[in-house]
Amino acid sequence: MRHTIAVLVENKSGVLARISNLFRRRGYNIESITVGKSEREGIARITLEVDGDELVIEQVTKQLNKLIDVIKVSDITHDEMIERELMLIKVSADASTRSEILQIVDIFRASVVDVSPKALVIEITGDRDKLEAFETLLRPFGIKEIACTGKVAMVRHPKEIK
């Protein structure tokens, strides 16, 4: 099963390398990893998506906790949470297809961030299902490029990961 794990780490160089080293060495599968700031100075927040059964996930969280630069590890899979991912898609579009694409963009509440004679760049945020559905609908038009952030997640109030 896929788990979502929130990790608070010291914002120091090398931390990400330590984490990816750990996953490689112990043979855990990272589906996605995102890193960014947290609400506190000097602490970064990592969101990990990891595949594995309960025992594997127990090991993943414990081994992460053993890293000195890791401050807190929370498996939030079973919490009520908000997950978001951001995707940029460059899709072929000419005069004949543009309006059809714009309709899809509209339905998905995505936005067009760049327009050129032969292509559009579209930005979309949402959970993975939404992004996948969007991508599927655009595929027939010709996707030239995709860039994706991976997932960030937050547990709903009042619980906090601190």
């Binding site: 010291e10 090398g14 090991q59 053993k66 000195i68």
Partner: protein
């Protein structure tokens, strides 16, 4: 006080109570060596950085203190890595300090640059690349703290050359350690401790499995109290050897692939397993799914990640073995499960360790003789292979920190430098390295270190002209196809003499004991080269992957 980075290193080490450093200098650490020059701290010049790391490791195992080693950047640091990995696998506290190229040269493929922190990150408990001299003192203090607390392990500090020459204020005692991400649990949960006591009080066939963590925790006395209070037989892992006196009636000695019959059977038969400071290595458990499958399991370990890693347990207790055992003993009732104990006694009586002695020198005979004649305060250090297993099996180990061996990494070449480190830390003890001819050759250059510093260690070479342990596997599992395992005979007595040590060669049984005595009496380092049977095997043996009661060989 305003000091250079190099001076800070030395002053900080003094504050940490470091009395000896093992290492080799070089351009990137020359400033630290300059500060060391008239510091009063003893330095032992090794002759390969791997040797220096193993010396620091042997020192730490023998004394319980943190061992320290130095190396220069690039090749110096990469030479350390086997030693660091070895300490990591066996949870041994060492602090390794390496020189690095100046900060502005990092990443430029500068002369003797290697990514030391990158290379060592999977084999250290933690490591640091120092980028600001103002952080150096705190980093050193943290490094020692991390190395020796919780589950101990090696910590590496990589110090660029310009940091060694830059200056900063130094006030070591005012530095407070507060590492947000590192707060080891020590005391153990009282509810779990009570639950464990309940299981022990109810058990009909309890068995203890004591590991290296008991020795780390200094918990042998508590282990002894628990075992004797409730009359629980005690098996140890290989790393747990010495945690419980092997001459005690409750001792089952060591278990596992090359474990004792009684220990393996007791583990398979027990209804309650009390595992203390052990990590259920594949060498201990054999086929893990059938390991102690009839038993409820209690697991006391300081590292939460060890719980349910290899074996699923019923009552985990996370914390320090000494503290937890102290609490646990209070809740355990005095008892004697007669039926179980007589089964155990019978196991021990019907399956003693034996070997077929003959006119030639058998390796087991050498270890037995050693065991008969050495004084009580003898530290046995081993190399890796058959020599190591015979040393574990045929010597009666009675005290913690008196059996030193590379368990987790199984590093050939560990024993000899480790024995030098052990002797430096325990000058009062007789320190003997039991070596294989293959292993000894891997760090034999350290004979120069022993001679130069007059460190009177004694090496007993079990010279079987073979990479014996691998040859044994080839004999048993590869139709005796001895691919690359037969060695040319080396005369280690002559080699020892060439280095300036005492060397004695033994080719007849009668010569053994006099040779050992004359080595022990000699005031400097001595090598006794014992030419033994080539094709002797270590038994008992459990084939790899089999349950530990499927034992071949022996009785």
């Amino acid at each position: 006080m305003r000091l250079t980075g190099a001076q800070i290193v030395i002053e900080a080490l003094k504050h940490e109570g470091v009395d000896v450093i093992f290492g080799i200098p070089g351009g990137a650490i020359i400033d630290v060596y300059d500060a060391l020059y008239d510091s009063g701290i003893r330095h032992i010049l090794a002759h390969h950085e791997q040797g220096a790391a193993h010396m620091a490791d042997g020192y730490a195992r023998a004394t319980g203190r943190v061992g320290v080693c130095f190396a220069t950047s690039g090749p110096g640091a990469t030479n350390l890595t086997t030693g660091i990995a070895n300490a990591y696998m066996d949870s041994i506290p060492i602090v390794a300090i390496t020189g690095q190229v100046a900060t502005h040269l990092i990443g430029k493929d500068a002369f003797q640059e290697a990514d030391t922190t990158g290379i060592t990150s999977p084999i250290t408990k933690h490591n640091y690349l120092v980028k600001d001299v103002n952080e150096l003192a705190r980093i050193i203090k943290e490094a020692f703290y991390i190395a020796r607390t919780g589950r101990p392990g090696p910590v590496l500090i990589d110090i660029p050359k310009n940091i060694q020459t830059a200056t900063a204020d130094f006030d070591y005692s005012s530095i407070e350690i507060d590492i947000r991400g590192y707060k080891p649990s020590i005391t153990g949960h009282i509810r779990q401790i009570k639950e464990a006591a309940r299981l022990i009080n109810d058990a009909k066939k309890p068995c203890i499995l004591a590991g290296g963590g008991v020795i780390t925790a200094g918990a042998s006395e508590e282990l002894f109290k628990l075992a004797t209070k409730a009359n629980i037989p005690v098996a140890t892992t290989f790393m747990g050897i010495g945690s419980f006196p092997q001459d005690h009636p409750l001792s089952l000695k060591s278990a596992g692939m090359h474990g004792n019959y009684a220990a393996n059977y007791a583990l398979m038969e027990c209804d309650l397993l009390i595992a203390i400071g052990c990590r259920f290595s594949d060498r201990t458990t054999g086929k893990v799914s059938s390991f102690a499958s009839k038993a409820k399991k209690i697991h006391i370990d300081i590292d939460p990640a060890e719980i349910n890693k290899n074996v699923i347990v019923d009552v985990p207790i996370v914390g320090d073995a000494k503290i937890i055992l102290k609490a646990l003993i209070e809740y355990v009732q005095e008892k004697r499960e007669e039926e179980w104990l007589s089964y155990i006694m019978e196991l021990k009586a019907t399956h003693p360790l034996t070997y077929a002695d003959g006119p030639t020198i058998k390796p087991q005979f050498v270890i037995e003789k050693l065991c008969e004649i050495v004084p009580d305060n003898t530290i046995i250090v081993t190399e890796v292979g058959q020599n190591q297993m015979w040393s574990a099996l045929f010597f009666t180990h009675k005290k913690p920190r008196h059996f030193i061996s590379s368990g987790g990494l199984g590093t050939m070449g560990f024993g000899f430098p480790a024995s030098i480190g052990a002797k430096v830390g325990r000058p009062d003890a007789l320190v003997i390295d039991i070596a294989g001819d293959g292993s000894f050759l891997m760090n034999i250059q350290e004979l120069a270190t022993a001679v130069e510093n007059n460190i009177p260690i004694k090496v007993v070479v079990i010279n079987n002209r073979a990479l014996g342990m691998v040859r044994q596997w080839q004999e048993l599992f590869y139709k005796r196809r001895y691919s690359a395992t037969i060695l040319k005979e080396v005369n280690f007595a002559e080699i020892a003499k060439a280095f300036g040590a005492k060397g004695i060669r033994v080719t007849e049984k009668e010569g053994l004991v006099p040779a050992l005595y004359s080595a022990f009496e000699y005031p400097g380092p001595a090598v006794v080269d014992v030419v033994v049977e080539q094709e002797e095997n270590v038994v008992p043996m459990v084939p790899p992957g089999a349950p530990i009661d499927q034992i071949i060989g022996g009785k």
